[in-house]
Amino acid sequence: MCLATPALVKSLEGTDAEVDISGVRRRISIYLTPEVKVGDYVLLHAGFSIRVVDQEEAEGTLELLRQMDEAS
Protein backbone atom coordinates (compact mmCIF):
# COMPACT_ATOMS: atom_id res chain seq x y z
CA MET A 1 0.00 0.00 0.00
CA CYS A 2 3.02 2.26 0.29
CA LEU A 3 3.88 1.81 -3.37
CA ALA A 4 5.10 4.86 -5.24
CA THR A 5 5.97 5.03 -8.93
CA PRO A 6 8.40 7.36 -10.66
CA ALA A 7 6.47 9.87 -12.80
CA LEU A 8 7.86 12.54 -15.12
CA VAL A 9 6.53 16.06 -14.51
CA LYS A 10 5.28 17.59 -17.79
CA SER A 11 3.62 20.79 -16.59
CA LEU A 12 2.69 22.63 -13.41
CA GLU A 13 -0.42 24.53 -12.43
CA GLY A 14 -0.66 25.82 -8.88
CA THR A 15 -0.44 22.87 -6.51
CA ASP A 16 -1.17 20.42 -9.35
CA ALA A 17 1.04 18.87 -11.98
CA GLU A 18 0.51 16.83 -15.07
CA VAL A 19 2.77 13.78 -15.09
CA ASP A 20 3.65 11.02 -17.50
CA ILE A 21 3.85 7.44 -16.21
CA SER A 22 5.05 5.17 -19.04
CA GLY A 23 3.00 7.10 -21.57
CA VAL A 24 -0.09 7.58 -19.39
CA ARG A 25 -0.92 11.18 -18.45
CA ARG A 26 -2.25 11.94 -15.03
CA ARG A 27 -3.03 14.98 -12.90
CA ILE A 28 -1.48 14.85 -9.44
CA SER A 29 -1.00 17.10 -6.42
CA ILE A 30 2.44 18.51 -5.69
CA TYR A 31 1.30 19.94 -2.37
CA LEU A 32 3.85 17.80 -0.49
CA THR A 33 6.75 18.70 -2.82
CA PRO A 34 6.34 22.37 -3.82
CA GLU A 35 9.96 22.50 -5.01
CA VAL A 36 9.21 20.29 -8.03
CA LYS A 37 10.11 21.52 -11.54
CA VAL A 38 9.06 20.51 -15.05
CA GLY A 39 11.37 17.67 -16.15
CA ASP A 40 11.76 16.28 -12.63
CA TYR A 41 10.81 12.74 -11.77
CA VAL A 42 8.67 12.42 -8.65
CA LEU A 43 7.63 9.43 -6.56
CA LEU A 44 3.86 9.30 -7.04
CA HIS A 45 1.77 7.82 -4.24
CA ALA A 46 -2.04 7.97 -3.99
CA GLY A 47 -2.33 11.01 -6.24
CA PHE A 48 0.45 13.00 -4.57
CA SER A 49 4.13 13.38 -5.31
CA ILE A 50 5.83 12.50 -2.04
CA ARG A 51 9.39 13.18 -3.13
CA VAL A 52 11.40 14.55 -6.05
CA VAL A 53 13.67 11.74 -7.27
CA ASP A 54 17.32 12.67 -6.91
CA GLN A 55 18.60 11.70 -10.34
CA GLU A 56 22.21 12.38 -9.44
CA GLU A 57 21.96 9.94 -6.55
CA ALA A 58 20.35 7.40 -8.88
CA GLU A 59 23.26 7.74 -11.30
CA GLY A 60 25.75 7.62 -8.42
CA THR A 61 24.31 4.34 -7.10
CA LEU A 62 24.35 2.78 -10.57
CA GLU A 63 27.88 4.00 -11.27
CA LEU A 64 29.20 2.41 -8.07
CA LEU A 65 27.48 -0.85 -8.89
CA ARG A 66 28.89 -0.85 -12.44
CA GLN A 67 32.39 -0.29 -11.10
CA MET A 68 31.95 -3.16 -8.66
CA ASP A 69 30.74 -5.34 -11.51
CA GLU A 70 33.75 -4.50 -13.69
CA ALA A 71 36.19 -5.07 -10.85
CA SER A 72 34.84 -8.55 -10.18
Binding site: M1, L32, P34, A46, R66
Partner: protein, 364 residues
Protein backbone atom coordinates in the same frame (compact mmCIF):
# COMPACT_ATOMS: atom_id res chain seq x y z
CA UNK B 1 10.76 2.88 -17.72
CA UNK B 2 13.46 5.26 -16.55
CA UNK B 3 14.52 4.85 -12.90
CA UNK B 4 12.96 1.39 -12.91
CA UNK B 5 14.65 -0.63 -15.67
CA UNK B 6 18.18 0.35 -14.60
CA UNK B 7 17.45 -1.09 -11.17
CA UNK B 8 16.31 -4.37 -12.71
CA UNK B 9 19.59 -4.88 -14.55
CA UNK B 10 20.32 -8.61 -14.46
CA UNK B 11 24.05 -8.16 -14.66
CA UNK B 12 24.18 -5.84 -11.65
CA UNK B 13 21.85 -8.14 -9.73
CA UNK B 14 24.15 -11.06 -10.48
CA UNK B 15 27.30 -9.34 -9.30
CA UNK B 16 25.55 -8.15 -6.13
CA UNK B 17 24.42 -11.72 -5.47
CA UNK B 18 28.01 -12.85 -5.91
CA UNK B 19 29.28 -10.21 -3.50
CA UNK B 20 26.69 -11.21 -0.88
CA UNK B 21 27.78 -14.86 -1.22
CA UNK B 22 31.41 -13.89 -0.72
CA UNK B 23 30.71 -11.64 2.24
CA UNK B 24 28.32 -13.88 4.12
CA UNK B 25 29.96 -16.06 6.77
CA UNK B 26 27.71 -15.81 9.81
CA UNK B 27 24.09 -16.87 9.80
CA UNK B 28 21.87 -13.79 9.47
CA UNK B 29 18.12 -13.34 9.82
CA UNK B 30 16.78 -10.32 7.99
CA UNK B 31 13.27 -8.94 8.28
CA UNK B 32 11.72 -6.94 5.49
CA UNK B 33 9.34 -4.70 7.36
CA UNK B 34 7.28 -3.54 4.40
CA UNK B 35 4.68 -5.57 2.50
CA UNK B 36 5.71 -4.02 -0.81
CA UNK B 37 9.19 -5.40 -0.18
CA UNK B 38 7.70 -8.84 0.55
CA UNK B 39 5.95 -8.79 -2.82
CA UNK B 40 9.09 -7.65 -4.65
CA UNK B 41 11.29 -10.23 -2.88
CA UNK B 42 8.96 -13.08 -3.85
CA UNK B 43 8.23 -11.82 -7.34
CA UNK B 44 11.91 -11.55 -8.23
CA UNK B 45 12.87 -14.78 -6.47
CA UNK B 46 15.36 -12.99 -4.24
CA UNK B 47 15.17 -15.53 -1.41
CA UNK B 48 16.47 -18.22 -3.76
CA UNK B 49 19.45 -16.06 -4.74
CA UNK B 50 20.74 -15.65 -1.20
CA UNK B 51 23.30 -17.94 0.42
CA UNK B 52 21.84 -20.56 2.79
CA UNK B 53 22.98 -18.69 5.90
CA UNK B 54 20.86 -15.66 5.07
CA UNK B 55 17.24 -16.09 6.07
CA UNK B 56 14.52 -13.61 5.16
CA UNK B 57 11.27 -13.09 7.01
CA UNK B 58 8.29 -10.82 6.53
CA UNK B 59 7.27 -8.14 8.99
CA UNK B 60 4.08 -6.28 9.86
CA UNK B 61 4.42 -3.56 7.22
CA UNK B 62 1.09 -3.90 5.46
CA UNK B 63 -1.37 -1.22 6.63
CA UNK B 64 -4.33 -3.29 5.46
CA UNK B 65 -3.19 -6.39 7.38
CA UNK B 66 -2.49 -4.61 10.66
CA UNK B 67 -5.82 -2.81 10.81
CA UNK B 68 -7.57 -4.11 13.90
CA UNK B 69 -10.78 -6.07 13.55
CA UNK B 70 -12.64 -3.59 15.78
CA UNK B 71 -11.67 -0.76 13.42
CA UNK B 72 -12.86 -2.70 10.38
CA UNK B 73 -16.16 -3.35 12.15
CA UNK B 74 -16.43 0.35 12.85
CA UNK B 75 -15.76 1.24 9.21
CA UNK B 76 -18.48 -1.19 8.14
CA UNK B 77 -20.89 0.33 10.69
CA UNK B 78 -20.08 3.83 9.43
CA UNK B 79 -20.66 2.75 5.83
CA UNK B 80 -24.07 1.42 6.84
CA UNK B 81 -25.34 4.75 8.18
CA UNK B 82 -27.98 6.54 6.10
CA UNK B 83 -26.75 9.57 4.16
CA UNK B 84 -23.12 8.54 4.48
CA UNK B 85 -20.67 7.86 1.66
CA UNK B 86 -17.63 5.91 2.79
CA UNK B 87 -14.56 6.39 0.60
CA UNK B 88 -11.70 3.91 0.80
CA UNK B 89 -8.61 2.76 -1.03
CA UNK B 90 -9.52 -0.42 -2.90
CA UNK B 91 -7.32 -2.72 -0.80
CA UNK B 92 -9.59 -2.41 2.23
CA UNK B 93 -12.83 -3.60 0.67
CA UNK B 94 -12.39 -7.36 0.94
CA UNK B 95 -10.87 -7.38 4.42
CA UNK B 96 -13.14 -9.44 6.65
CA UNK B 97 -14.35 -7.84 9.86
CA UNK B 98 -16.11 -9.84 12.56
CA UNK B 99 -19.28 -10.43 10.56
CA UNK B 100 -18.98 -8.72 7.20
CA UNK B 101 -16.65 -6.72 4.97
CA UNK B 102 -16.97 -3.36 3.25
CA UNK B 103 -17.50 -5.19 0.00
CA UNK B 104 -20.39 -7.13 1.47
CA UNK B 105 -21.82 -3.97 3.00
CA UNK B 106 -21.63 -2.35 -0.43
CA UNK B 107 -23.41 -5.29 -2.02
CA UNK B 108 -26.12 -4.88 0.60
CA UNK B 109 -26.64 -1.25 -0.35
CA UNK B 110 -24.12 0.80 1.62
CA UNK B 111 -22.60 3.66 -0.38
CA UNK B 112 -18.95 2.59 -0.41
CA UNK B 113 -16.71 4.13 -3.05
CA UNK B 114 -13.18 3.24 -4.02
CA UNK B 115 -10.93 6.25 -4.40
CA UNK B 116 -7.38 6.54 -5.63
CA UNK B 117 -6.52 9.65 -3.65
CA UNK B 118 -7.81 11.62 -0.65
CA UNK B 119 -8.47 14.43 -3.11
CA UNK B 120 -11.02 12.22 -4.91
CA UNK B 121 -12.84 11.74 -1.60
CA UNK B 122 -12.81 15.48 -1.01
CA UNK B 123 -14.27 16.03 -4.47
CA UNK B 124 -17.05 13.55 -3.70
CA UNK B 125 -17.78 15.56 -0.53
CA UNK B 126 -17.89 18.80 -2.51
CA UNK B 127 -20.37 17.33 -4.98
CA UNK B 128 -22.60 15.78 -2.32
CA UNK B 129 -23.10 18.50 0.29
CA UNK B 130 -26.22 16.78 1.68
CA UNK B 131 -24.22 13.64 2.58
CA UNK B 132 -21.60 12.94 5.17
CA UNK B 133 -18.48 11.79 3.33
CA UNK B 134 -16.01 9.69 5.33
CA UNK B 135 -12.52 8.86 4.15
CA UNK B 136 -11.23 5.61 5.64
CA UNK B 137 -7.78 6.82 6.60
CA UNK B 138 -5.71 3.63 6.61
CA UNK B 139 -2.00 3.98 5.91
CA UNK B 140 1.53 4.49 7.16
CA UNK B 141 3.67 7.62 7.02
CA UNK B 142 3.72 7.41 3.21
CA UNK B 143 -0.02 8.04 3.05
CA UNK B 144 -0.70 10.09 6.20
CA UNK B 145 0.56 13.40 4.74
CA UNK B 146 -1.95 13.00 1.89
CA UNK B 147 -4.70 12.63 4.51
CA UNK B 148 -3.42 15.70 6.35
CA UNK B 149 -3.43 17.62 3.06
CA UNK B 150 -7.06 16.67 2.46
CA UNK B 151 -8.11 17.94 5.90
CA UNK B 152 -6.37 21.26 5.29
CA UNK B 153 -7.98 21.50 1.85
CA UNK B 154 -11.41 20.73 3.38
CA UNK B 155 -10.84 23.51 5.89
CA UNK B 156 -9.68 25.97 3.24
CA UNK B 157 -12.63 25.14 0.99
CA UNK B 158 -15.15 25.01 3.89
CA UNK B 159 -16.11 21.46 2.88
CA UNK B 160 -17.62 20.66 6.27
CA UNK B 161 -19.24 17.38 5.27
CA UNK B 162 -15.79 15.79 4.76
CA UNK B 163 -14.62 13.52 7.58
CA UNK B 164 -11.69 11.25 8.25
CA UNK B 165 -11.77 7.98 10.16
CA UNK B 166 -8.17 8.21 11.26
CA UNK B 167 -6.45 4.81 11.29
CA UNK B 168 -3.01 6.04 10.24
CA UNK B 169 -0.13 4.21 11.88
CA UNK B 170 3.53 4.99 12.48
CA UNK B 171 6.26 2.45 11.75
CA UNK B 172 9.13 3.20 14.18
CA UNK B 173 6.93 2.71 17.30
CA UNK B 174 5.75 -0.72 16.14
CA UNK B 175 9.31 -1.74 15.31
CA UNK B 176 10.20 -0.83 18.89
CA UNK B 177 7.23 -2.80 20.23
CA UNK B 178 8.27 -5.91 18.26
CA UNK B 179 11.86 -5.66 19.43
CA UNK B 180 10.82 -5.05 23.05
CA UNK B 181 8.56 -8.11 22.95
CA UNK B 182 11.71 -10.09 22.14
CA UNK B 183 9.74 -12.88 20.46
CA UNK B 184 11.45 -12.56 17.15
CA UNK B 185 15.19 -12.80 16.73
CA UNK B 186 16.63 -10.72 13.90
CA UNK B 187 20.03 -9.40 12.89
CA UNK B 188 18.99 -6.85 10.31
CA UNK B 189 15.97 -4.91 9.07
CA UNK B 190 15.23 -3.84 5.51
CA UNK B 191 13.55 -0.55 6.34
CA UNK B 192 10.57 0.64 4.27
CA UNK B 193 11.50 2.85 1.31
CA UNK B 194 8.47 5.07 0.91
CA UNK B 195 7.70 5.48 4.59
CA UNK B 196 11.30 6.67 4.79
CA UNK B 197 10.88 9.03 1.81
CA UNK B 198 8.65 10.92 4.26
CA UNK B 199 10.25 10.38 7.68
CA UNK B 200 13.88 9.98 6.55
CA UNK B 201 16.29 7.43 8.01
CA UNK B 202 16.95 9.17 11.34
CA UNK B 203 13.94 7.71 13.20
CA UNK B 204 15.54 4.23 12.95
CA UNK B 205 18.70 5.23 14.78
CA UNK B 206 17.49 3.77 18.08
CA UNK B 207 17.48 0.28 16.49
CA UNK B 208 21.25 -0.23 16.05
CA UNK B 209 21.95 1.86 19.15
CA UNK B 210 19.59 0.13 21.61
CA UNK B 211 19.14 -3.30 20.03
CA UNK B 212 22.34 -3.81 18.03
CA UNK B 213 20.37 -4.54 14.87
CA UNK B 214 21.53 -3.44 11.41
CA UNK B 215 19.17 -1.21 9.37
CA UNK B 216 19.23 -0.36 5.67
CA UNK B 217 16.51 1.60 3.87
CA UNK B 218 15.75 -0.04 0.53
CA UNK B 219 13.99 0.74 -2.73
CA UNK B 220 11.72 -1.77 -4.43
CA UNK B 221 13.53 -3.02 -7.53
CA UNK B 222 15.64 -6.20 -7.36
CA UNK B 223 18.96 -4.33 -7.52
CA UNK B 224 17.78 -2.03 -4.71
CA UNK B 225 16.88 -4.97 -2.48
CA UNK B 226 20.06 -6.91 -3.22
CA UNK B 227 22.10 -3.80 -2.49
CA UNK B 228 20.28 -3.40 0.84
CA UNK B 229 20.94 -7.06 1.72
CA UNK B 230 24.60 -6.62 0.74
CA UNK B 231 24.91 -3.56 3.00
CA UNK B 232 23.16 -5.38 5.87
CA UNK B 233 25.46 -8.39 5.57
CA UNK B 234 28.50 -6.09 5.52
CA UNK B 235 27.29 -4.45 8.77
CA UNK B 236 26.52 -7.80 10.38
CA UNK B 237 29.83 -9.39 9.40
CA UNK B 238 31.74 -6.34 10.69
CA UNK B 239 29.69 -6.33 13.90
CA UNK B 240 28.95 -2.64 13.34
CA UNK B 241 25.21 -2.15 13.12
CA UNK B 242 24.12 1.26 11.82
CA UNK B 243 21.41 2.95 9.77
CA UNK B 244 22.29 3.24 6.08
CA UNK B 245 20.37 4.16 2.96
CA UNK B 246 20.53 1.97 -0.15
CA UNK B 247 17.65 3.94 -1.75
CA UNK B 248 19.46 7.26 -2.04
CA UNK B 249 17.46 8.54 -4.99
CA UNK B 250 14.32 8.45 -2.85
CA UNK B 251 15.41 8.85 0.76
CA UNK B 252 17.55 11.27 2.77
CA UNK B 253 18.32 11.17 6.50
CA UNK B 254 15.88 14.08 7.05
CA UNK B 255 13.06 12.92 4.77
CA UNK B 256 10.33 15.20 3.41
CA UNK B 257 10.15 17.88 6.06
CA UNK B 258 7.15 19.64 4.61
CA UNK B 259 5.17 16.40 4.73
CA UNK B 260 6.30 15.78 8.32
CA UNK B 261 5.24 19.28 9.29
CA UNK B 262 1.78 18.79 7.75
CA UNK B 263 1.35 15.58 9.76
CA UNK B 264 2.29 17.43 12.94
CA UNK B 265 -0.02 20.29 12.07
CA UNK B 266 -3.10 18.13 11.65
CA UNK B 267 -2.57 15.12 13.95
CA UNK B 268 -1.61 14.31 17.52
CA UNK B 269 0.02 10.98 18.34
CA UNK B 270 -2.02 8.49 20.29
CA UNK B 271 -1.97 4.79 21.15
CA UNK B 272 -3.20 2.51 18.35
CA UNK B 273 -4.28 -1.12 18.12
CA UNK B 274 -2.37 -3.26 15.63
CA UNK B 275 -3.70 -6.65 14.62
CA UNK B 276 -1.49 -9.32 16.11
CA UNK B 277 0.62 -6.87 18.05
CA UNK B 278 -1.98 -5.20 20.25
CA UNK B 279 -1.91 -1.67 21.56
CA UNK B 280 1.27 0.26 20.69
CA UNK B 281 1.91 3.59 22.41
CA UNK B 282 2.44 6.68 20.22
CA UNK B 283 1.85 4.68 17.05
CA UNK B 284 -1.49 6.13 15.99
CA UNK B 285 -2.78 9.51 14.91
CA UNK B 286 -5.79 11.47 16.06
CA UNK B 287 -7.01 14.70 14.49
CA UNK B 288 -6.01 17.71 16.56
CA UNK B 289 -8.69 19.51 18.57
CA UNK B 290 -8.70 22.30 16.00
CA UNK B 291 -9.85 19.84 13.30
CA UNK B 292 -12.31 17.88 15.43
CA UNK B 293 -15.22 18.70 13.14
CA UNK B 294 -13.54 16.54 10.48
CA UNK B 295 -13.25 13.57 12.88
CA UNK B 296 -15.64 10.86 11.62
CA UNK B 297 -15.71 9.08 14.98
CA UNK B 298 -17.04 12.20 16.72
CA UNK B 299 -19.42 13.19 13.94
CA UNK B 300 -20.91 9.69 13.59
CA UNK B 301 -20.68 7.71 16.82
CA UNK B 302 -21.28 3.99 16.16
CA UNK B 303 -21.10 0.94 18.43
CA UNK B 304 -20.41 -2.10 16.27
CA UNK B 305 -20.53 -4.72 19.03
CA UNK B 306 -18.07 -7.43 20.06
CA UNK B 307 -15.35 -8.52 17.66
CA UNK B 308 -14.62 -12.03 16.45
CA UNK B 309 -11.35 -13.18 14.92
CA UNK B 310 -11.47 -15.57 11.96
CA UNK B 311 -11.17 -19.08 13.40
CA UNK B 312 -7.83 -20.81 12.86
CA UNK B 313 -6.25 -17.77 11.20
CA UNK B 314 -2.68 -17.09 12.38
CA UNK B 315 -2.30 -13.63 10.84
CA UNK B 316 -1.33 -12.19 14.21
CA UNK B 317 1.69 -14.47 14.48
CA UNK B 318 2.54 -14.02 10.80
CA UNK B 319 2.55 -10.24 11.32
CA UNK B 320 4.83 -10.54 14.34
CA UNK B 321 7.24 -12.70 12.34
CA UNK B 322 6.85 -15.70 14.68
CA UNK B 323 4.93 -17.93 12.25
CA UNK B 324 5.19 -18.34 8.51
CA UNK B 325 2.05 -18.49 6.38
CA UNK B 326 2.89 -22.14 5.65
CA UNK B 327 2.63 -22.85 9.40
CA UNK B 328 -1.08 -22.04 9.20
CA UNK B 329 -3.29 -25.09 8.73
CA UNK B 330 -5.70 -23.13 6.57
CA UNK B 331 -3.03 -21.89 4.17
CA UNK B 332 -3.77 -22.97 0.60
CA UNK B 333 -6.29 -25.64 1.68
CA UNK B 334 -9.04 -23.36 2.96
CA UNK B 335 -7.53 -19.91 2.70
CA UNK B 336 -6.73 -18.67 -0.82
CA UNK B 337 -6.74 -15.23 -2.47
CA UNK B 338 -10.15 -16.08 -3.97
CA UNK B 339 -11.58 -17.10 -0.57
CA UNK B 340 -9.36 -15.37 1.96
CA UNK B 341 -9.88 -16.10 5.64
CA UNK B 342 -7.58 -13.44 7.06
CA UNK B 343 -6.24 -10.05 5.98
CA UNK B 344 -2.74 -11.38 5.21
CA UNK B 345 -4.31 -13.34 2.35
CA UNK B 346 -6.73 -10.57 1.31
CA UNK B 347 -4.10 -7.94 0.83
CA UNK B 348 -1.84 -8.38 -2.18
CA UNK B 349 0.96 -7.16 0.07
CA UNK B 350 0.14 -9.58 2.87
CA UNK B 351 2.70 -12.31 3.55
CA UNK B 352 0.14 -15.11 3.02
CA UNK B 353 -0.77 -13.75 -0.40
CA UNK B 354 2.89 -13.50 -1.43
CA UNK B 355 3.58 -17.06 -0.25
CA UNK B 356 0.50 -18.29 -2.09
CA UNK B 357 1.15 -16.47 -5.36
CA UNK B 358 4.91 -16.83 -5.58
CA UNK B 359 5.69 -20.02 -3.68
CA UNK B 360 7.11 -20.59 -0.23
CA UNK B 361 10.71 -21.06 0.92
CA UNK B 362 11.01 -24.54 -0.47
CA UNK B 363 10.27 -23.06 -3.88
CA UNK B 364 7.01 -24.99 -4.19
Amino acid sequence: MKLVDEFRDVRLARSLTERIRQRSVRAARLMEFCGSHTVAIFKHGIRQLLPPGVEMMSGPGCPVCVTDNADIDKAIALAGLPDVILCSFGDMLKVPGSNSSLQQAKAEGADVRIVYSTMDALEIARRNPEKGVIFLGVGFETTIPTIAASVLAAEAGAIDNYHVFSLGKLCPPVMKALLDAGEVKIDGIICPGHVSAIIGSRPYEFIPRDYGIACVVSGFEPVDILLAVDMLIAQIEAGLPAVEIAYRRGVTPEGNQRAQQLMEQVFDRCPARWRGVGQVPQSGLRLKEKYRRFNAELAFPVEPGPTREPKGCRCGEVLRGVAKPTDCQLFRSVCTPERPVGPCMVSYEGACSSYYLYGDDSGE
